[in-house]
Amino acid sequence: MEKKKIKILIAKPGLDGHDRGAKVVARGLRDAGFEVIYTGLHQTPEMIVNTAIQEDVDIIGLSILSGAHMTIFPEVLRLLKEKGATDIHLFGGGIIPDEDKEKLYQMGVGKLFDPGTKISEIVEYINNLFKEKVSE
């Protein structure tokens, strides 16, 4: 039996076009053995959730540098719930102050990484999340 491949959606919501981080992370995760879907810029929460469902990803990572995190994360969570896809994890990275992070964690958002995070930390985080799944 083949091992389950972890599938990750890396998305860039909103209007901000700074995709350096998203692309570096997408590539780094590929090099760590994950299957990564990258959807490009200017994604709405609806597009992100639709993609996540069709691709049956295990986890969504959003890169937000524009300060719109308090709008976008809750909206993606809401849509995941609405579509019965709460088993899909949501994490993110970008410029997110501690105070907002706390609020988002309480809503059920997974880890939010700061600028300057090593890709290996993200890899470790994802691997820990899916420990059981991988050893299936």
Binding site: G14, L15, K23, R27, M70, I95, P115, G116, K118
Partner: protein, 555 residues
């Protein structure tokens, strides 16, 4: 030096090299610039053997301008201290402008929010959560009037970081001046208006490259007739660098973008000397001190040479590479943010030693949010200390003649020409962009840099070394009130209710007709702006004619 002298020197150098070759080196696993140019222990005349003072450097204010574009440089006039700012509504930013002016700032620089940068009104569905967050929201002439309320536009020069919708935002500004009683020809400032780097790096494009270039040439033409003191394009390497490029790539792609604009202008039939003097540049000042200085010097020399030889510019002003510098936002760390003050100071020093005409120093908290007043003040003070306390402004190009700096200047120039050649083979910059060439080169460099940090081949203090466990961030952060979005949308709706909508529709129709013809598009845009058509309405009308650009992602 005679042949004999060279031989002697060479021998002496070899001897020394032999002597030190086995001595241990400790600080880094490998020695290279941030652009990965390997560096030796020491540089000597041997590394610049063909050096010719008059040909390669000349004097300040004289061809090829390697040492600076002015005869007296900072002894005659300091650089303009220009802090980029903008957030919330026009009222909020207006207040910040007045604060900066009262503390000795000499030029304004407007940051717009994402919806504005993409030509969308604040009530556009895609704008949700982004109104006034990363800059100020400007949806119409009304907002612009408020932004500069109480700031006489004939007394300041204003730089506006705007690209895709530059023509429209500029029209708002010109009309704001007009309403204050300042005629177009007295207005001074810069619009960034560099669309090529948007496709390459920053991704705030709207239309496909061809119509975008047409609008840019329209702007150049309009300015040369009506707004002669305005800098029509700020050809920007800054964002290319922020997207992860090396210094060489920043230099090469930016100059190549510049050449493309010049060629477009010439193709239109404009005399190069009428528009070239109004082209300016915008570079990044990153952490690798000497490489950055060399980059600025090489840029000046290449530009002057190509403008003169390739494009046949005759006026001295056309040969001058004038540039604004911003310290590297991507070098700021979220960890131990106070350290960013020091990073920024060194980067600013490199910009000054490189001969910048104006400078923005980043605030320490910008890896986290828009800067607070306190952080901005420290950033401005950093420049003032540089200018007045440490003596670097006394002598022009004080590093000129340094073996290492001259070697690096030559090296960067050489590498840039290698890129020019490749891009020309592809059919020019637009073709190269469409094929994803610069995008791929940058993505590759960004990934390599990240890996170097992860593998500790580069040390970033507080990030991969000298880390504080359980660090608590203790700088106060500026928060944007979510009310901003609501207030801004309200104002926009009020505007739409109160203006003459029939006239607006007619003007928009005329604009579309002009867009389909080859008439200069600035005039109908001004007409639309004057009757308070909104940014989004004007851009959407143009989208109908020009279409929208969709990018592929290049890794």
């Amino acid at each position: 030096m005679s042949n004999k002298d060279w031989e002697e020197l060479e021998e002496a150098y070899k001897k020394w090299e032999e002597m030190v070759k086995d001595l241990p080196e400790c600080t880094l696993p490998s020695f290279s610039t941030i652009s990965n140019i390997p560096v030796k222990k020491v540089y000597t005349p041997l590394d610049i053997k063909n050096f010719d003072y008059l040909r390669d450097l000349g004097f300040p204010g004289e061809y090829p301008f390697t040492r600076g574009i002015r005869h007296t440089m900072y002894r005659g006039r300091l650089w303009t201290m220009r802090q980029f700012s903008g957030f919330g509504t026009a009222e909020d930013t207006n207040k910040r402008f007045k604060f900066l002016l009262s503390h000795g700032e000499t030029g304004l620089s407007v940051a717009f929010d994402y919806p504005t940068l993409l030509g969308r009104d604040s009530d556009d569905p895609m704008a949700r959560g982004e109104v006034g967050v990363c800059g100020v929201a400007i949806s119409s002439l009304r907002d612009m009037e408020i932004l500069f309320d109480g700031i006489p536009l004939d007394t300041v020069s204003t730089s506006m970081t705007i690209n895709g919708p530059a023509a429209v935002i500029w029209a708002f500004y010109l009309l704001t001046g007009e309403k204050q009683g300042v005629p177009f020809y007295k207005l001074r400032g810069t619009i960034q208006n560099d669309i090529l780097k948007e496709y390459i790096a920053q991704k705030s494009y709207i239309f496909p490259p061809e119509p975008s270039l047409r609008i840019i040439v329209d702007i150049m033409e309009f300015a040369s007739k009506e707004v002669p003191k305005w800098n029509t394009i700020s050809i920007s390497g800054y964002h290319i660098r922020e997207a992860g490029s090396t210094a060489v790539q920043e230099l090469a792609f930016t100059l190549m973008d510049g050449f493309t604009y010049v060629e477009e202008g010439i193709k239109r039939g404009l005399d190069v000397d009428t528009f070239a003097p109004r082209l300016s540049f915008f570079f990044n000042a990153h952490l690798d001190f000497f490489e950055e200085i060399a980059k600025f010097r090489a840029a000046r020399r290449i530009w002057a040479r190509e403008m003169k030889n390739r494009y046949g510019a005759k006026k001295k002003e056309s040969l001058l590479l004038r540039f604004h510098t911003q310290t590297a936002g991507c070098s700021l760390t979220a960890q131990q943010p106070e350290n960013n003050i020091i990073r920024t100071a060194y980067e600013a020093l490199a910009a000054v030693l490189g001969g910048t005409q104006s400078l923005h120093t980043n605030s320490m908290d910008e890896a986290w949010a828009l800067p607070t007043e306190k952080a901005v003040l420290i950033a401005l003070r950093t420049q003032q200390i540089l200018a007045y306390e440490i003596g670097v402004t006394n002598v022009i190009d004080p590093l000129g003649g340094s073996y290492y700096v001259e070697y690096l200047t030559n090296k960067l120039e050489e590498e840039a020409y290698r890129y020019f050649e490749k891009i020309e083979k592809m059919g020019g910059m637009v073709a190269a962009i469409k094929a994803g060439f610069p995008q791929r080169e940058i993505a590759e460099a960004a990934y390599r840099y990240q890996k170097e940090i992860e593998e500790k081949k580069r040390i970033i203090v507080g990030v991969n070394e000298f880390v504080l466990e359980n660090e608590k961030i203790e700088i106060p952060l500026l928060k944007i009130d979510p009310e901003v979005e609501r207030r801004q949308i309200e104002r926009l709706h009020k505007l739409r209710r109160e203006r003459d909508n029939i006239v607006c529709e007619r003007k928009l129709k005329e604009l579309k007709m002009a867009a389909r013809s080859n008439e200069n598009i600035m005039y109908p845009i001004l007409e639309c702006a004057r009757v308070y058509c909104t940014l989004g309405e004007i851009i959407n009308a143009l989208k109908e004619v020009f279409g929208e650009y969709k990018e592929e992602a290049f890794f």
